[in-house]
């Protein structure tokens, strides 16, 4: 693709928003349209710079993550499996599954996602039920969050629930666009459905994922245009519930106490992880100790390749590496926000906003935990930390955003340079209503 095209394309939505333009395609003609699009793609790619920005940052973070997983897990892998590469190779395999999944997902139409929303959410909840209520559930570090199916790698259905909740929110809230301010029409059903899913996750004990899910719901509602007073109310309720849940388990209480009073934290107990994370970051300084030279990974820092991988990044690559990760997160956020701004489709907007909260929000929460600014919640760093289900579900989520971005862009009045093409397409699809056809 040609650079000039990309620049033009990215500016287009701003200009086009001032004028009427072709709108969402009825599903009945979508097959025909897709055929046309494929043909066009050969001549001139119909995707915006947002698409490539998001795809590029995502792939870079996955590659960077693999590198850091290799470095941080090498010692633990050697001890557990007598091969320094075991965790890395497993993570690489997940990436090899997840990236094609992302590319395939990016090609699917929004209608597919809308239709699959209920199925994915219901499927995720069903699997989560298996986790919490059947012997197939596996408890790790006090959290019953894993599903062991035969000899398959353990799965985290809560990650699938995230995808389901995101899709459901997009589907439901976009449908309720006009009644978004009505409590019983929009907020009430949302609370009921997503609340069920969140409760299922919370029963398993995964407070971190529950909090992220609550964040996803709040973010979706925010970008769906819910009145701010509803949002404030919901936030207050969620916070209360979250705190009560947190206090219901002694291991969480001690974690929170350790956070609130670091000086009284038992050095070898709850404060251990944070303290060793600090030592790692301090060791790194500005320039880092160099890739592979972390000391924290020598059994000092628990969850060194998952929840605390940021400490190893900060140690090996220094302040520079830490800031790089933060910049990547900002770029990711900007890419999501540009896609939100570019799309007129409320489904795309709500889904992208949810995934923004998921990926960017979770990343910021993870780093804040490592930096001791939040209690230890147990959430990994998206796209970077080791963890198969989490990586695949994140990549799937970004694939969904890419597909929505692609759809928005192809509907854009790109062909100002190709008026003929534009005219032809307009003729074929015809003027449609603003609201997607039901």
């Amino acid at each position: 693709m040609n650079k000039k095209d990309a620049t033009l394309t990215s500016r287009d939505p701003v200009i086009s928003s001032l004028q009427p333009r072709p709108q969402a395609v009825p599903s009945s003609v979508s097959v025909g349209l897709r055929t046309a699009r494929i043909t066009l793609a050969k001549a001139a790619p119909m995707v915006s710079s947002n698409f490539y920005l998001l795809l590029g940052v995502t792939l870079f973070m996955v590659a960077f993550g693999l590198m850091m997983v290799l470095s941080s897990s090498s010692v633990g892998s050697k001890i557990d499996d007598s091969s320094s590469f075991s965790v890395f190779l497993r993570q690489g395999t997940y990436a090899l599954v997840g990236i094609p999944l992302l590319l395939v997902a990016s090609r699917l139409p929004s209608t597919f996602w809308k239709r699959s929303a209920w199925i994915v959410l219901a499927g995720g909840c069903l699997l989560q039920l298996l986790v919490i209520a059947s012997p197939l559930g596996v408890t790790v570090n006090g959290n019953r969050n894993w599903l062991q199916l035969g000899s398959l790698p353990a799965l985290q259905p809560s990650e699938l629930i995230k995808v389901g909740v995101v899709l459901w929110l997009g589907m439901f809230l976009s449908r309720k666009q006009h009644r978004i301010a009505q409590f019983s029409q929009a907020l009430m059903p949302t609370i009921l459905v997503t609340g069920t899913a969140i409760v299922l996750v919370a029963i398993g004990g995964d407070l971190g994922t529950s909090v992220i899910l609550i964040g996803i719901v709040l973010g979706a509602l925010f970008f769906a245009g819910i009145p701010l007073r509803h949002l404030a109310l919901l936030t207050a309720i969620s916070a209360t519930i979250a705190i009560l849940t947190a206090l219901s388990r002694p291991n969480r209480v001690s974690r929170i106490l350790a956070f609130l009073q670091p000086s009284t934290a038992d050095y070898s107990g709850t404060g251990w992880q944070i303290q060793n994370g600090y030592f790692a970051l301090g060791d790194g300084g500005i320039f880092g100790v160099g890739l592979g030279n972390s000391k924290a990974k020598w059994s000092w820092l628990p969850a060194v390749d998952t929840d605390f991988i940021f400490a190893v990044i900060g140690e090996e690559l220094g302040l520079i590496g830490g800031c790089l990760v933060l910049i990547l997160i900002i770029v990711l956020g900007v890419a999501f926000l540009r896609i939100i701004r570019a799309t007129p489709d409320p489904f795309a907007r709500v889904v992208t906003a949810s995934i923004l909260v998921w990926i960017v929000g979770q990343a910021l929460v993870n780093i804040a935990v490592v930096l001791g600014m939040l209690p230890v919640l147990g959430v990994p760093l998206p796209l970077i930390s080791a963890g198969g289900t989490a990586l695949i579900s994140s990549l799937l989520a970004i694939g969904i955003v890419l597909s929505l971005s692609r759809e928005t862009d192809t509907r854009d009045p790109l062909p100002r340079r190709m008026p003929e093409l534009h005219r032809r397409r307009a003729q074929r699809t015809g003027p449609t209503s603003r609201v997607p056809a039901k």
């Binding site: 928003s17 010692v75 001890i79 666009q177 006009h178 978004i180 925010f222 970008f223 769906a224 245009g225 600090y278 030592f279 970051l281 301090g282 060791d283 790194g284 300084g285 500005i286 030279n293 000391k295 020598w298 059994s299 000092w300 900060g314 220094g318 302040l319 830490g322 800031c323 933060l326 997160i329 900002i330 956020g333 900007v334 926000l337 939100i340 701004r341 007129p344 409320p346 907007r349 906003a353 923004l356 960017v360 910021l364 780093i367 804040a368 930096l371 001791g372 600014m373």
Partner: protein
């Protein structure tokens, strides 16, 4: 109706929130990684760093050819942490096997030679303790065997041990290590400063499981190995001397014996043998009195070997020649009233000074020595460095006793000419003969030829500055007179060495009983030089209170064998001139 403006506003809010959060995180990150970094690193270092001692091994003691007489080896102490003793998993032929502490005790015991119950008792004596010694100072093979058991609650400490590979060869010289440096003995004590290494230290950082993190090892202070003490001893000759001496001491039922072999041209001691001699590896098998070197520490009245000194003094002072004639009765009543007798009854004999030496006449040498004043005789003794320690300055070395000549009694006035009433050490006797053999030039006696530091530099080299004690002529004439002892004295047949002219003097000294009287045995001795025409080696043999033979004949075979060995070993050319044959009578 959602307006695009509303969306834009909310996007703006999202941008502000994300930016603000990231800004806060960056500030915190800078705070941790830059502002607090040094204090965090100090805390982490305290937690991660492990200091280790690097042993600067004690140096070796070697003989003149480099044969190691004393060295340091690394041994290992095995300790356990009883409070951690528990079952553990062992991999046997690829399969994981659960091992109980009692089974582990059996495995340890099978390697160390302890019984399973003994080891188990050590492990369980104090279950709350973090320390229990299992065994000390095991060698590398056993250490590796125990390590291979992969018992998690065992710890290992290196324990440098002193060993003496040649055992009792030179055991009297090498000495021993005591509980601290003040209780060391022999060269271990004398050369302690040279031998002592300095320990170094290193620090590494460890993982939480104790593993050393790669690239964190820092040597804070390099260890320095102690210096090597190079002795003048020839361990082969030392061994031979000890063997021959041991045989003779045993067969004559003597209390003890000593042999000193000294090189005439250098003053180096080639062998300082004694019997009994200690094995520093097993000191307790030997009477503590013999843990040191008796040749330095145990003075005795030398007896007739001392007549050579008296004769040399007479000749050097111009008071006599080898042919000086003297009428020697068996019993002589001196002007002061004291009475001297020879060992064997004889008619008054017309002997020359040579004859007096050959016949070892106490009367003859007493009469002739009276030609020198007491002070002159004392001064000669002092010039031969009698009454003072040799340059070796061996731990416990005795000066011998000459006493104050002005206080010598009437008897001592004469007795001192034939080696009674004064005491010398075996080393001092050897030094007298070295002086005689070296044209009257006394060389400092040396046992240590230097201390070679780890960097190869050599210090403590002994002085080679000689002193002319008597004239060259006097010295050679004295040696020549002693050839008659080997050609015609009572022990001649025992002293002869085919092919070489040998000069020697026997001695049979009465031993003081410690209460001012003589009685209860003799010190029999031979001291001599070879080849007599150009002396190269001194051999001095002393046997204390032999029972089966009570005169110089007891020591003579030892002298003959050792001198033969020396001449052979150092490839001394046989004599080409006949033995000097001064007239012994007139």
């Amino acid at each position: 109706m959602t307006s695009r403006r509303s969306t834009r506003n909310r996007i703006a809010v999202a941008i502000v929130v994300i930016t603000a959060v990231v800004a806060v995180l960056v500030v915190k990150l800078v705070d941790i990684q830059v502002v607090q970094a040094s204090s965090l690193n100090a805390q982490a270092y305290d937690k991660l760093s492990v200091g280790q001692t690097l042993y600067g091994a004690r140096g070796d003691i070697v003989d003149s050819t480099g044969t190691v007489l004393a060295t340091t080896v690394i041994r290992y102490d095995v300790t356990a942490s009883p409070k951690d003793v528990a079952d553990f998993t062992q991999t046997v032929n690829g399969a994981a096997v659960d091992v109980t502490p009692l089974q582990a005790a059996g495995q340890i015991g099978a390697i160390t030679g302890q019984s399973a119950t003994d080891v188990y008792a050590l492990l369980t004596a104090d279950p709350s303790s973090g320390y229990a010694l299992i065994i000390k100072a095991i060698d590398l093979d056993k250490y590796n065997a125990i390590r291979a058991l992969s018992i998690p609650w065992l710890q290992y400490q290196t324990n440098p041990q002193r060993v003496y590979p040649n055992g009792s060869v030179g055991g009297n010289l090498v000495g021993y290590l005591g509980a601290d440096s003040s209780t060391n003995g022999g060269l271990e004590a004398k050369e302690n400063q040279c031998l002592t290494g300095s320990d170094g230290s290193q620090t590494y950082e460890k993982g939480a499981d104790g593993v050393a993190i790669p690239n964190t090892l820092v040597v804070d202070k390099a260890p320095v190995t102690g210096g090597t003490v190079m002795t003048t001893i020839d361990s082969d000759l030392q061994y031979y001397s000890q063997q021959v001496l041991a045989q003779q001491v045993t067969s004559t039922k003597a209390e003890w014996g000593s042999v000193v072999v000294e090189e005439v041209k250098t003053g180096k001691l080639l062998a300082v043998a004694q019997y009994p001699t200690p094995d520093p590896n097993n000191l307790d098998a030997t009477d503590p009195h013999f843990w040191g070197a008796t040749a330095f520490s145990d003075p005795f009245e030398p007896g007739s070997t001392f007549k050579a000194e008296s004769a040399a003094a007479l000749i050097d002072a111009g008071k006599a020649t080898p042919a000086t004639q003297v009428l020697v009765p068996y019993r002589y009543k001196a002007p002061g009233g004291s009475v001297i007798t020879d060992s064997e009854n004889h008619d008054p004999a017309q002997w020359t000074l040579t004859g007096v030496i050959q016949e070892s006449s106490n009367v003859g040498i007493s009469i002739l020595s009276a030609m020198l004043t007491t002070q002159q005789r004392y001064d000669y003794m002092k010039k031969f460095h009698l009454g003072e320690k040799t340059e070796v300055n061996f731990p416990g070395e005795s000066e011998g006793i000459l006493g104050d000549p002005s206080q010598w009694g009437e008897q001592t006035l004469y007795n001192s000419s034939f080696g009674q009433g004064v005491t010398t050490t075996a080393a001092q006797i050897a030094s007298i003969y070295q002086t005689l053999g070296n044209g009257g030039v006394r060389l400092p006696v040396s046992l240590v030829s230097g201390c070679k530091a780890a960097d190869g530099s050599v210090s403590e080299q002994p002085s080679t500055q000689g002193e002319q004690v008597i004239s060259s002529d006097a010295a050679q004439q004295t040696v020549n007179m002693m050839q008659s002892v080997v050609t015609g004295g009572y022990a001649a047949s025992l002293l002869k060495i085919p092919g070489y002219n040998v000069a020697a003097k026997t001695g049979t000294a009465e031993v003081s009983n410690g209460q001012g009287a003589y009685g209860g045995g003799y010190l029999t001795s031979v001291a001599g030089l070879a080849p007599a025409e150009a002396p190269q080696y001194v051999v001095s043999v002393n046997l204390m209170k032999p029972v089966t033979i009570e005169d110089g004949s007891a020591a003579a075979p030892v002298f003959q064998k050792i001198m033969s060995q020396v001449l052979q070993k150092y490839r001394v050319l046989p004599s080409t001139t006949p033995a000097v044959n001064y007239p012994t009578s007139y």
